[in-house]
């Protein structure tokens, strides 16, 4: 009886399309996992696959809940400042292509720990390098879990849960966490090209089709932005006064050129602030600042927030662009090409596929501001992060087509957080089971023991990720992913960049720089999160030191130079420990593959071993 009532309260279209996605993703994962059993199959799954499929697969792996839901939510809440996220997510790939992808491909290291060991002939360094796979993975899974909790809270918003209306956020997180964890532990969900490629086209369809329909009904991207311009300020002000009189604040008004727009709740940023290049996101710290009163007793001058916003913007750009080049799960995909030329053509297509995708989420943000501003009043999973899911529902006044399109975006969201969460769980579990357990704790373990350990690690890590995910409801999805990028930018990016281009690097230099930069970034963003979640009280301190707040929230601007600087200094002081065959290593990294140096290098290494 109660279960019937619960189902009746859920939109059938949204539920059906979402369930179809979950079932389809799991089924495809197991189908594909059954066809490829060995690690080599997993890593080189793309061999013999065309450039188009491979490019789609890389793009499918990359687009997470942050891209699908978070970008739109953040553009809606912050405006122009948030545009840096989609642009740098897409363009960070260029940095990867220019400096890192080619040499690493030639070197033939599948993962960053593989590369760390091969470049410095040091199994010890491999163990050190693996640490940040876990840290970055944890920070990256939290926003995926927020996406899961938000989506399920949206789908089941009208059910009754122990006397309360709507499914609590944490229940959604636990549900999705359990399903995916067991799926990974049982061996499904490996990064198979076909599944990932399918995921890309599904996400692309789910984000673009609703945008085209919404824009056709409510007016184009430019016209919607025009409806936020100064020319409508008077109309908006008049409508606000009129609505205040009637006590109905959410009336719609037609602006000068006929674009419809709903009134903003009081806590939404004003049009002028929202469109400002230094808007709510980047000026937040400076606006919260309380400058000390001047000694001469004159009135306190408010801070000019713009210089602070400039620092914030640059730090964010550095984190995202360098971080993309240091993400552990992205590099692996460069080996799924038969040769270097195909790898480069694939990268070109990846940049086009990702770039086209990232045009759409900000449109959702702009439309959401004009058509569904009620979300500004919500917090956590009821806030702007769910705009992509809810906005299509306003079509045909909540009729069937609105439901279908909302179901489509919910399905896309499931595809986004499920694929990214399982990919991250696989790579974190692999690091823990193979590197930490198999190489450090018990090097004598049998393959059977390691396989069993893989399952236990998957369950343990899945549990940790679920717990962390259920705690971060107040933080924005996109913001958390940006933090994972900042940690990657301060740890793996300097390691890869310097190891590839400077032959004077030593293992001690690499380790010192990577650990210091990465740890500083980790501590800084953790402090920010603890403060934002209200676990520690730093607001008073930060109101006196807004610059410190910005440097904690976006640490890349000092952590990346710190890591690179330490690498240089320590390497110079330990110059004697540069690997003996460094010239050969550099040749393998940089000489064209047609010269066949890799084979020669392997022969030489085997020669030494015997």
């Amino acid at each position: 009886m109660t279960s019937l009532a619960m189902i009746a309260a859920v939109d059938p279209w949204i539920l059906a399309l979402s369930l179809l996605t979950v079932a389809g993703t799991i089924a495809m994962g197991f189908w594909a996992a059954g066809r490829s059993r060995t690690a080599a199959d997993f890593f080189v799954a793309g061999r013999g696959v065309s450039v188009g499929w491979n490019a789609s697969a890389i793009s499918g792996e990359y687009l997470s809940a942050a891209s699908f839901m978070g970008v739109a939510g953040m553009v809606m809440s912050s405006g122009y400042d948030a545009l840096w996220y989609p642009v740098c997510y897409a363009c960070g790939y260029l940095f990867l292509l220019l400096f890192i992808a080619g040499p690493l491909r030639r070197f033939g290291a599948y993962t960053i720990p593989d590369f760390a060991e091969g470049r410095y002939d040091s199994p010890v360094f491999r163990k050190i390098a693996v640490v940040f796979v876990l840290f970055i993975g944890c920070f990256y899974t939290m926003p995926q879990m927020k996406g899961a909790g938000t989506t399920l809270a949206y789908i089941f918003q009208d059910i009754t849960w122990f006397g309360h209306k709507g499914l609590p956020y944490w229940v959604g997180v636990v549900l999705v966490g359990v399903v995916i964890t067991f799926n990974v532990a049982l061996g499904g969900m490996k990064g198979i090209t076909l599944v990932q490629a399918f995921q890309y086209w599904m996400k692309m369809f789910a984000i673009s089709v609703p945008v085209f329909v919404l824009v056709a009904v409510h007016g184009g991207y430019g016209r919607q932005l025009q409806a936020n311009g100064p020319e409508v300020a008077d109309i908006m002000a008049a409508a606000t006064r009129a609505a205040a009189g009637t006590g109905r604040p959410d009336v719609s008004l037609a602006t000068a050129d006929g674009t419809r727009r709903a009134l903003l709740p009081t806590n939404a940023p004003a049009d002028r602030v929202w469109l400002n290049p230094f808007g709510p996101l980047t000026t937040k710290a400076a606006k919260a600042a309380k400058p000390a009163a001047p000694a001469d007793g004159s009135a306190v001058k408010p801070l000019d927030p713009r210089p602070y916003a400039l620092v914030y913007t640059y730090s964010l750009i550095i984190a995202l662009v360098c971080g993309t080049a240091g993400l552990p799960h992205i590099l692996v995909r460069f080996y799924t090409n038969p040769d270097g030329v195909a790898a480069k053509r694939t990268t070109m297509w990846v940049m086009i596929l990702i770039g086209v995708f990232y045009v759409f989420p900000p449109v959702f943000g702009v439309l959401g501001r004009n058509l569904l501003p009620a979300l500004y009043a919500g917090t956590g999973s009821k806030g702007t992060d769910k705009i992509v899911l809810e906005l299509p529902r306003i079509l045909s006044g909540g009729g069937v087509w609105g439901s279908v399109l909302s179901g489509v975006t919910c399905a896309g969201a499931f595809a986004a957080f499920m694929s990214t969460f399982s990919g991250l769980l696989v790579s974190m579990t692999g690091a823990l089971a193979h590197d930490v357990y198999g190489r450090i704790l018990k090097p004598t373990s049998t393959p059977g023991e390691r396989m069993r350990m893989f399952k236990w690690c998957a369950v343990a890590l899945g549990g940790v990720a679920t717990l962390l995910g259920s705690l971060v409801e107040p933080l924005q999805i996109n913001f958390m992913v940006g933090q994972a990028f900042a940690i990657a930018a301060a740890s793996y990016f300097p390691l890869l960049f310097m190891s590839v281009w400077w032959r004077g690097m030593t293992m001690k230099g690499a380790a010192t720089g990577m650990l210091s930069g990465g740890t500083c970034a980790l501590v800084a963003v953790t402090l920010t999160n603890f403060s934002d979640l209200g676990w520690i009280s730093l607001a008073g301190f930060w109101s006196h030191h807004p610059l410190l707040r910005i440097l904690c929230e976006q640490p890349a601007i000092w952590c990346v130079p710190l890591a690179i600087g330490l690498m240089v200094v320590v390497s110079l002081r330990t110059r004697a420990t540069v690997p003996a065959d460094i010239r050969m290593k550099m040749l393998v990294l940089h000489a064209p593959e047609a010269l066949g140096l890799k084979q020669e290098y392997i022969r030489e290494h085997e020669g030494h071993a015997h």
């Binding site: 363009c91 940095f95 086009i352 086209v356 045009v359 040749l587 000489a591 010269l595």
Partner: protein, 105 residues
């Protein structure tokens, strides 16, 4: 690879070959990154020093929104396209150079 086993040549293992190899590749990468970073880092500066110009409306869009939200993507594609073409040509030239010096021996 179906290509025949390449001959191990002295040219490949010479210090000057590695040096010129890395320098040419790095020069191409740095040039492309420079074009990218000038625009990426220049946009916040333009917003800072010319807010009026950047807020000009173009087809409904504030100019800076149009640049960042839409036009930046094709710009990056262009850089990637140029880099990929040049780097493939560079690799071919390097391989040809090694083969030539081997033939002269």
């Amino acid at each position: 690879m179906s290509s025949p086993e390449p001959q191990v040549s002295d040219r490949i293992h010479s210090e000057s070959f590695l040096h010129s190899l890395m320098r040419r590749q790095l020069r191409l990468s740095v040039a492309c990154a420079g074009a990218f970073l000038v625009v990426l880092f220049g946009l916040p500066l333009a917003n800072y020093f010319a807010p009026g110009l950047m807020a000009t409306r173009v087809g409904g869009f504030p100019f800076t929104w149009l640049l960042l939200g839409i036009l930046f993507f094709p710009f990056v594609w262009l850089i990637a396209w140029v880099f990929i073409r040049r780097s493939i040509a560079l690799e071919e030239a390097e391989a040809a150079e090694v083969r030539e010096s081997d033939a002269r021996r």
